[in-house]
Symmetry: C2
Subunit: 388 residues, 2 copies
């Protein structure tokens, strides 16, 4: 390795799924049909109401910088959304519009995490979350979790792993890759424990809205002393627009604003204007139809995988992922994913992209494609397993 | 200060001009006319060809994630631009599309700068540049510069200030706030010196294109072993779209790609499609008309300020700024700016936003407004000075 590379770049691993994606593209270029169940991006286009709001803004020709914290009217609408959806009051001064949840993580950790400080998070978890910690030369202290805690951290686990170096804890619910929503009480206790310990609590809520049982509770329902990361990408169907938001504890407002001025200047203007339409009645009605469709897909995929012999210790109730134990078929889930792609043209994500906790026994299926396509994928998967 | 705030946030100062902006808005709300000469954003709207390309993309409804490094066709077009404009060949693998120059700085420094390492840069310089260094817990080692080196670093200064802690040097040309372009030979020698010392060279070229004499030379003309930061914001008139680019030395390609995947996922899709039209013949013709207009404004403002008694030791040849010595009128340029705004409704940026090197003697005028408006501003300024 070049001596000029920053040391942090060693700790940041590339996504294994990228190798699969590269191979999938090659196969497709050869004319082979590949069913994509590896992608964390909904197949639905952005709702038309949002697209039209974006076009209206562009037609004005005025695509200038907005304030660093975001368009005041968008921050206002986000605050209203917390009132109507969660019955929670949030001071809009605490709300920052960001370039996706990525930008929200940058601000939250940039404002709070010192080098060598540690953040507790579940294993498995989304790899970017620990990589953001490494970006600021902190340490992601992953805690193995299983179905007994819905693959989520608990107050007990947080206490058990807390050291002098610990800055805080991160909980992502619904979780990527497991799709599980943390129990309301479990979240509340985790937050109170972190607050008692004097740390920072980060709540990754980017899959909120995509929940197929009781609504997920926001961390803000239990405390104002939390960072909440959210996004218009997943539930609102705005992936490529790169717009999300961050809510910070009061004491972090000034530092977050300074960082936003310096790190982004501002979030893309037309994306922010488009997002203003995300809370319209028509948009929300369309999103509700999509949520119902995702739920049907979840049910289809869950039943199909169980029938094939995969173990899914807990039925996922959110996001668009199923994290399935494939140890009945392989001791190396990455090889399993590579072989499945090669033999049958079905792309999935290996467990090792999400940590080391039993990662070789797990694979993630994303139901970001239609039931018709998934039905074909299941036939191919069955054929692959029976051959193996 | 809260003990939970990251220490780096202390080192990052807010922009003093924000205070002026806040006051300017209050005055405008009271019905007072304020002439804005503090803003680093062109008054021109985005060229129509670019806006239309953005609208076309939105109408497809497919605003999905692009690859982390950017749309392949946009990277290709950027590579072509280096060939046609600078006669320089750049491997498109080295080109990363980013959310503005801000995103380019994040990647470049994230991939190369370790905590406690130092970066040499001129004082005065754009404050975000040193703040990016602080974001990664590095140190911005500013070197006082003056008109004798066109307010730019020289090879001699770099050698003189180089220590074991130095990671590299940053040169921004045309410079913000001074508007000066580095002499071609001076740039070449600076790059060779940094290369010989085994450091990293960062060339901030975001005002390229806005040059009113001989074309500015890109650092890539002298070495492939450089980071080049550029943007569609200034010359191409795409501020609010948040799209720029970064070119890295070959050995940094993999690390930069990993960081891009984790830090942004990707740059806004519709902004990238819009930027595809930035290199069209029609667009470039329109940009050339604007460049000529900026040149006329520069000439007008330069003459007017000299006539009023401001000292401008070197006529700026790029960007849209004039950095003027106001020590004939005040020993505190920040107070001068506040008083001028209050008395006459003219907003300018105090020198202390750009460093400490004689900062109290300087103010920055941005000619991002029309000659007609600037003419009124000069009348008001004259009145203010004569009263004072």
């Amino acid at each position: 390795m070049s001596v000029r590379l920053a040391k942090r770049t060693q700790g940041i691993s590339p996504f294994y799924v990228m190798e699969l994606l590269r191979r999938a593209k090659q196969l497709e270029a050869q004319g082979k049909d590949v069913i994509h169940m590896e992608i964390g991006e909904p197949d639905f286009a952005t709702p038309q109401t949002i697209v039209e709001a974006g076009i209206r803004q562009l037609k004005t020709g005025e695509v200038k910088y907005t304030p660093a914290a975001g368009l005041p009217e968008l921050r206002e609408k986000i605050a209203e959304f917390y009132q109507t959806r969660y019955s929670v009051m949030v001071d809009k001064k605490r709300i920052f519009v960001t370039p996706g949840a990525s930008g929200a993580f940058l601000l939250a950790l940039g404002a709070s995490l010192n080098p060598a400080e540690e953040l507790l998070m579940a294993d498995p978890c989304y790899p970017c979350n620990s990589n953001f910690v490494k970006l600021f030369d902190g340490k992601a202290r992953t805690v193995p979790v299983d179905a007994t805690s819905r693959y989520q951290l608990t107050a007990a686990r947080i206490k058990q792993h807390w050291t002098k170096a610990t800055k805080g804890a991160l909980i992502a619910s619904p979780s990527n890759p497991t799709g599980t929503v943390i129990a309301s009480d479990q979240l509340k206790q985790a937050i109170h424990t972190v607050n008692e310990l004097g740390g920072c609590f980060y709540s990754d809520e980017i899959y909120h809205g995509l929940v197929y049982g009781e609504n997920a509770t926001t961390a803000l329902a239990f405390s104002d002393n939390v960072f909440v990361i959210n996004s218009f990408s997943k539930y609102f169907g705005m992936t490529g627009w790169r717009v999300g938001w961050l809510i910070v504890p009061e004491e972090f407002i000034d530092a977050t604003e300074k960082l936003a001025q310096n790190i982004f200047i501002a979030t893309a203007t037309h994306s922010q204007y488009a997002a203003l339409a995300a809370f319209d009645e028509d948009t929300l009605a369309e999103l509700e139809r999509r949520r119902t469709e995702f739920e049907a897909r979840r049910d289809f995929l869950y039943e199909a995988l169980l029938r094939l012999g995969f173990e899914i210790p807990i039925k996922p109730d959110g996001a668009f992922y199923i994290y399935a134990n494939c140890s009945k078929f392989t001791a190396d889930s990455y090889q399993f994913a590579l072989d499945l792609l090669e033999a049958e043209g079905v792309a999935i994500t290996p467990g090792k992209d999400f940590g080391t906790n039993e990662a070789n026994h797990y694979i993630r299926f994303a139901y970001t494609t239609s039931i018709d396509r998934m039905a074909i994928a299941m036939q191919r998967l069955e054929k692959f397993i029976n051959k193996g």
